[in-house]
């Protein structure tokens, strides 16, 4: 009897967490399947009365969604590759090589990378205008890479600390050079750490809005968050289109989560809590 009650509570708690997290996405999915007439009817309907994909067709017709998607993908992939390679080198040096003031350097890196974006956007706007980097992929890749640097460095730093030093020492004794030991011993073992850092960097860049809005506002350079949010400027709040576009943009996010849930949860905590 007591066990039964216990299990019921488990189901209730799981449902609460699941509903809280997914209801907004589900509601926007329902919204996107309703006709424009149904959306402006009161009292409102919950379940779509006559589900239609018309909003999706219009969302693709009236805004270059594939282009936004491509922009987001190029920027996020570029920022991820740049961020992870730079962070891996720095984290390895700080975790494994003899560096004077290694810990002070680590803290300096994290502190610099945590300069508030909401303020740096002003000088970046000026500097990138001068350099001709506004409305270019590189102009977003560079600051986005820096944005994820603290997380990536901290994740990789604690990961490199877990690789036994003896492995490298053995390679060195066997006549390997430092770089050789790094390439043949450390790189093959770094997969999980690099992958976790890459996932977090990718999501950070994919979600970033303020820099993307300010540094790449040109119509064909907008990322997904910017492109979809700026739909509103052109019409009197087109909910049918926005809801459909939101669903399209959320699907890849949901897929990434479904595939890598465990890795993301582990990485978030390494980056933030452990240090």
């Amino acid at each position: 009897m007591r066990r039964m009650g216990h299990r019921a509570w488990l189901v209730v708690a799981a449902l609460l967490v699941l509903t809280n997290g997914t209801f907004p996405a589900i509601w926007i999915l329902f919204t996107s399947l309703k006709t424009e007439a149904e959306l402006t009817r009161t009292p409102i309907t919950y379940w779509p009365a006559e589900p239609t994909l018309a909003n999706y067709v219009r969302a693709f017709q009236e805004a270059p969604l594939p282009r936004y998607f491509l922009n987001s993908l190029v920027v996020a992939a570029g920022a991820t590759i740049l961020c992870v390679s730079i962070s891996a080198l720095a984290a390895y040096a700080l975790a494994r090589l003899r560096v004077l003031f290694a810990h002070a350097l680590l803290l300096t890196l994290v502190a610099l990378a945590m300069f508030p974006t909401a303020t740096l956007v002003v000088p970046l706007f000026q500097i990138f205008t001068t350099l001709g980097l506004r409305n270019t992929y590189l102009g977003l890749i560079l600051p986005h890479a820096a944005l994820s640097l603290p997380v990536a460095v901290l994740v990789l730093y604690s990961f490199f600390k877990t690789i036994p030093k003896d492995l490298e020492a053995a390679a060195l004794v066997d006549g390997c050079t430092r770089l050789g030991a790094l390439w043949y011993v450390v790189v093959p073992l770094s997969g999980p750490g690099v992958f976790t850092a890459a996932l977090l960097a990718f999501v950070n860049s994919w979600d970033e809005f303020l820099l993307a809005l300010t540094l790449a506002p040109a119509k064909d350079m907008r990322t997904l968050p910017v492109g979809i949010t700026l739909y509103q400027g052109e019409y009197l709040f087109p909910w049918p289109l926005i809801s459909a576009a939101l669903v399209v943009a959320l699907v890849p996010v949901a897929v990434v989560i479904a595939l890598f849930q465990e890795r993301i949860v582990a990485g978030l905590t390494q980056g933030a809590v452990k240090g």
Binding site: A13, N20, P43, Y92, A111, F115, R178, L250, V265
Partner: protein, 294 residues
Amino acid sequence: MRRPWDLSERALAFFFLVPAFLLLSLVAVYPAAHLFLTSFRELHLALGTQGAFVGLANYRQLLEDARFWNALRVTLEIVLVTVPGATLFGLALALMANLPYGIKWPVRLGLLLPWAMPLVFAGLIFRWFFESDFGIVNDVLRRLGQGPLFWLTDPILAFWAVALSIVWKTSSFVALVLLAGLQSIPREYYEAARVDGAGALQIFWRITLPLLKPALLVALIFRTLTALQTFDIPYAMTGGGPGHATETLAMFIRTQSVENLNLGYGSAAAMTLFALSMAVTSLYLRHLQATEGE
């Protein structure tokens, strides 16, 4: 004992650290210096000023600008409401997610989807929730015999609608950090307490909460930092309105510098936010320093 590769190790470390510092110089250090200097200049591109050095004039103007004080107040109110709000809600989510489930994906999905969603998307969805005629919030109120409330056109309600959306969106990050903290507490502690006859509440106050302190601290610091820089959700929900009722410092800064092209003035406003943020960052660095060596 000096080994033959000692020298090259130093050199290697140097070359490995160069790219990181180079990138940060370009997108953080140099821009920060640029921002600092610009805040003492009269650089108003729309008026064609040449950037003459004007000392503290921009800062003095800020002190007299009611809109700046309003933005500062809105920002601090958002910190005061959403940081404790997201922490408590996140703690509740984490405690529920930490129960011994056979199937783990439903709670993981419930925590990860809001975390991975761009803030502006959350803002847009909640704007639709709070829509006065066709939003679900007013529909629920109508079913309860209340309402309709004009959520996004009433200054006070707009603030609370924005704050609630921020709490929903950011509590997932808090929950994920706290969940990891919960999972690092050894099971034996709970078992020992239960053997000693401790109740659930006692276990929570005496074991869970004290051992969760490091994770709570990190979540609080990060949440405060992001709350200070709040931009995306009010931008998507209200655009800072009605009037300037939900205009945060970050929005004020961007409007002044990027939209009005008053870069000197916008930079001075940005410097105040910079100082606020760095004060909180220094707390995080102190925490990192304290946990190192463990």
